[in-house]
């Protein structure tokens, strides 16, 4: 078992929460984990990424080599493209379709979405709508985690358990919303025609 995941987004969008849940689930499975994060200046609204590696054997490098990522999981569409050189030939992109537009020259969104569709196997998720359906717009990260969960190599029940664990201090309502968001994301991903 060996999974390389690039998590992508904009500083402040909370990709590290997604990482924390995958980490917990992987550790629960007795797997080894390495997860490189970006702290510091880029966290102020800049492009941020996290290299997450899970394996049943020793992981040496904290960084994923180019062309070796099985999955790019992005909470922002343009950001999913920034890390394409890392994506393996059979890799998958799972991304939200909502742009985070904090720059003057943000490209045309349709062009971005089309480029993603032409960049390999990709699953585009209306994370905001599904998060709303789940009960809180902030749960859009869990929607995306759900959508990506078939590609993580970890059983979805284990990931759900980790969501419960991570949000345990925030009360049952928060747990329920996030679990709902996860399930909605998973369903959307399973039902969606995958662009190959």
């Amino acid at each position: 078992m060996n999974k390389n995941i690039i998590l992508a987004g904009v500083g402040g969008q909370g990709i590290l929460t997604i990482a924390a849940i995958i980490d917990l689930a992987a550790m629960g499975e007795g797997l080894k984990v390495k997860q490189a994060e970006v702290h510091g200046m880029s966290q102020r609204g800049g492009a941020v990424q996290s290299h997450l590696r899970i394996s049943d054997s020793e992981i040496f490098s904290d960084l994923i080599p180019l062309g070796k990522a099985d999955l790019i999981l992005s909470v922002e569409p343009m950001e999913s493209l920034r890390y394409l050189p890392y994506l393996s030939s059979g890799g998958t992109i799972v991304t939200a379709i909502q742009p985070f537009d904090n720059i003057a020259n943000y490209p045309n969104l349709d062009n971005i979405l089309n480029t993603i569709k032409n960049s390999g196997r990709s699953i585009l998720i209306d994370a905001v709508a599904l998060a709303g359906e789940a009960g809180n717009l902030k749960s859009s990260n869990m929607v995306l985690l759900g959508a990506a969960s078939p590609y993580l190599g970890i059983e979805k029940e284990k990931i759900e358990k980790s969501i419960e664990q991570l949000f345990s201090r925030k009360g049952q309502e928060t747990i329920d919303i996030n679990l709902r968001a996860f399930k909605l994301g998973l369903k959307a991903s399973e039902n969606k025609p995958v662009n190959i």
């Binding site: 904009v10 500083g11 980490d23 917990l24 550790m27 080894k32 984990v33 390495k34 997860q35 490189a36 994060e37 970006v38 702290h39 510091g40 200046m41 880029s42 966290q43 102020r44 609204g45 800049g46 492009a47 290299h51 020793e58 992981i59 040496f60 490098s61 904290d62 960084l63 994923i64 080599p65 180019l66 062309g67 343009m78 950001e79 493209l81 920034r82 394409l84 050189p85 890392y86 994506l87 030939s89 904090n102 720059i103 003057a104 020259n105 943000y106 490209p107 062009n111 971005i112 480029t115 960049s119 390999g120």
Partner: protein, 529 residues
């Protein structure tokens, strides 16, 4: 055994708590900040009364750590690489005095300058001070290295440096916790000469330090962090610290059969390196940072047996990656996808609602009427005022330099001479510069953009909060020319007028631009709920 997923920085913090420190001293700086924060938030550390408040700068931090060591207890001092420049006076001399209780200085280098002004390699500072340096390659080693470093410090009676880089500090892995040691009892230094660096004592101390070098190299020779990976052939790799990970990534991925020697402790152990390299025709040297030991091994006469960053086998600058090593080992890279041209850059920016935004807007308006528009700035979130749409500042060099560079430019005749500095940077290294300006009656306008926190590193306490007015008065700035403004849209016209007026004043002015950091405000609100 207790297993946790920890950042390298957190592994070091946990290691220090378990190694029986009585205090940690630090000024925030990426990528070192999380070490001290972990200790501040640790229940165990609180229970054992480990002292962990932020220091005003790295020099005060280092000296306080040395004082704790003098008193017989173990102390940890942490900083980013450029912080060691600030602490260098104390650091270098502490190698000559030596220590009493164990003292470990963690220095986090930032190759590729993710959040820094240079990529200096602290291992050079290790050589410079003649002290042992440990360079762990992963999170578990980072945890273990702290225990080891404190033992080494108390055995050699020297400060010991733990050198890490951004990648290790900010990457998580599973760490197994070891045993905990109790703190030392109070046992102040009994040698009455050791810490008095009068020339006669300092000369003796320096000789003592040089006498220890052979012993230190023998400790490096036997270091538990060295590792030999067997392999065939007459080509081998000498890998230092985290570079070992990238070497092993490529070797295991591509099933290469190459001998590797990993070294994680300095001064460089000669016998083991001689034995390893002697039987090889070609040796690749992989080190994260400057080609410090490549330079040493190639020598002045450029021994071509050794390759690395100096001959272009690896990039001369920046952080190493597994891809750099793959290329150096002749692996043909499979074709990878490229970044589509449509992808735009997304640089960091000042937060929406940030007080620096309103300050820069007022500053741009106020200075627009002057022929010379130069603003000396400093290190912090407000450095982002260099980017569009503000383009407000002309310099950012080192902590506190805005004040003194403005003074020097004013001395040269530049008007207005304006500095923008944050509250935390001002107390770190700006106060003494302000005193220079006051004593010289320099026509400068020093704007302290006071958001009440050390914002760029994540909102740590700022040592000057609620004290800035008194500090400026105490330094001797004329009270009539200390103006407090609140950078808000509604005050824009008034703030512009105040700035303009002070730009015209032929003496020292201080503008205190005070409004809470929006990130801290949000966090407080969450905590209250």
């Amino acid at each position: 055994m207790n297993k946790q997923l920890l950042l390298g920085a957190e592994a070091i913090a946990l290691g220090a708590i378990d190694a029986g420190i009585s205090g940690v001293y630090a000024y925030p700086g990426t990528p070192s900040t999380e070490i001290t924060e972990f200790i501040q938030n640790s229940v165990v550390a609180k229970k054992s009364a480990i002292r962990s408040t932020w220091s005003a700068n790295e020099k005060t931090a280092y000296e306080a750590a040395l004082g704790m060591s003098y008193a017989g207890k173990r102390s940890l001092v942490c900083m980013k690489h450029v912080g060691l420049n600030v602490a260098a006076d104390a650091y270098i001399n502490s190698a000559i005095t030596g220590v009493n209780g164990g003292l470990v200085v963690v220095v986090a280098d930032d190759p590729s300058m993710h959040s820094s002004q240079n990529e200096q390699d602290s291992r050079v500072y290790g050589k410079f001070a003649f002290i042992p340096v440990i360079e762990p390659s992963n999170q578990q080693e980072a945890y273990d290295a702290v225990h080891y470093a404190f033992e080494l410090s108390e055995k050699t009676k020297l400060p010991v440096m733990l050198r890490i880089t951004t990648r290790l500090s900010h990457s998580r892995a599973i760490v197994s916790q070891g045993i905990s040691r109790p703190q030392n009892e109070l046992a102040p230094e009994t040698d009455t000469k050791k810490f008095i660096l009068l020339p006669a004592n300092a000369r003796a101390g320096y000789l003592r330090l040089l006498d220890k070098q052979t012993k230190l190299a023998s400790y490096s020779e036997k270091s538990v962090f060295n590792r030999i990976v067997d392999g065939e052939g007459n080509f081998g790799i000498l890998a230092f610290g985290i570079a070992f990970n990238y070497v092993m990534e490529v070797i295991s991925e591509h099933k290469l059969d190459i001998p590797v020697l990993k070294i994680s402790q300095y001064p460089l152990p000669e016998p083991i390196i001689r034995e390893f390299t002697e039987k090889l025709d070609q040796v690749l040297i992989a080190e994260e940072g400057y080609p410090v030991y490549e330079e040493l091994l190639r020598g002045f006469f450029n021994n071509k047996k050794f390759t690395g960053r100096l001959d272009g086998t690896l990039p001369r600058t920046g952080e190493l990656t597994p891809d750099h090593l793959a290329k150096a080992l002749g692996i043909k890279m499979a074709e990878t996808k490229t970044i589509p041209a449509i992808v735009a850059n997304r640089p960091p920016e000042l937060c929406k609602g940030c007080s620096h935004r309103d300050l820069y807007e007022a500053l741009n308006a106020a200075i627009s009427g002057f022929e010379e528009k130069h603003v000396f700035s400093d290190i912090g979130c407000y450095t982002l005022g260099a980017l569009p749409p503000f383009n407000s500042i002309n310099t950012c060099v080192d902590m506190g330099a805005s004040v003194t560079m403005a003074k020097g430019a004013a001395d040269a005749g530049l008007r207005p001479a304006v500095a923008v500095i944050g509250d935390s940077t001002f107390t770190h290294s700006g106060i003494t510069g302000l005193l220079d300006a006051v004593n010289d009656k320099s026509p400068v306008t020093i704007i302290i953009s006071d958001n009440g926190t050390t914002a760029m590193t994540g909102g740590q306490d700022s040592s000057g909060t609620n004290k800035l007015l008194d500090i400026c008065k105490g330094v001797g700035v004329d009270e009539k020319h200390i103006k407090t403004i609140v950078p808000l849209k509604k005050n824009m016209e008034e703030n512009i007028a105040i700035l303009k007026e002070e730009f015209e004043y032929e003496g020292v002015s201080v503008i205190l631009a005070c409004r809470e950091c929006v990130q801290v405000a949000v966090r407080k609100k969450k905590a209250d709920r």
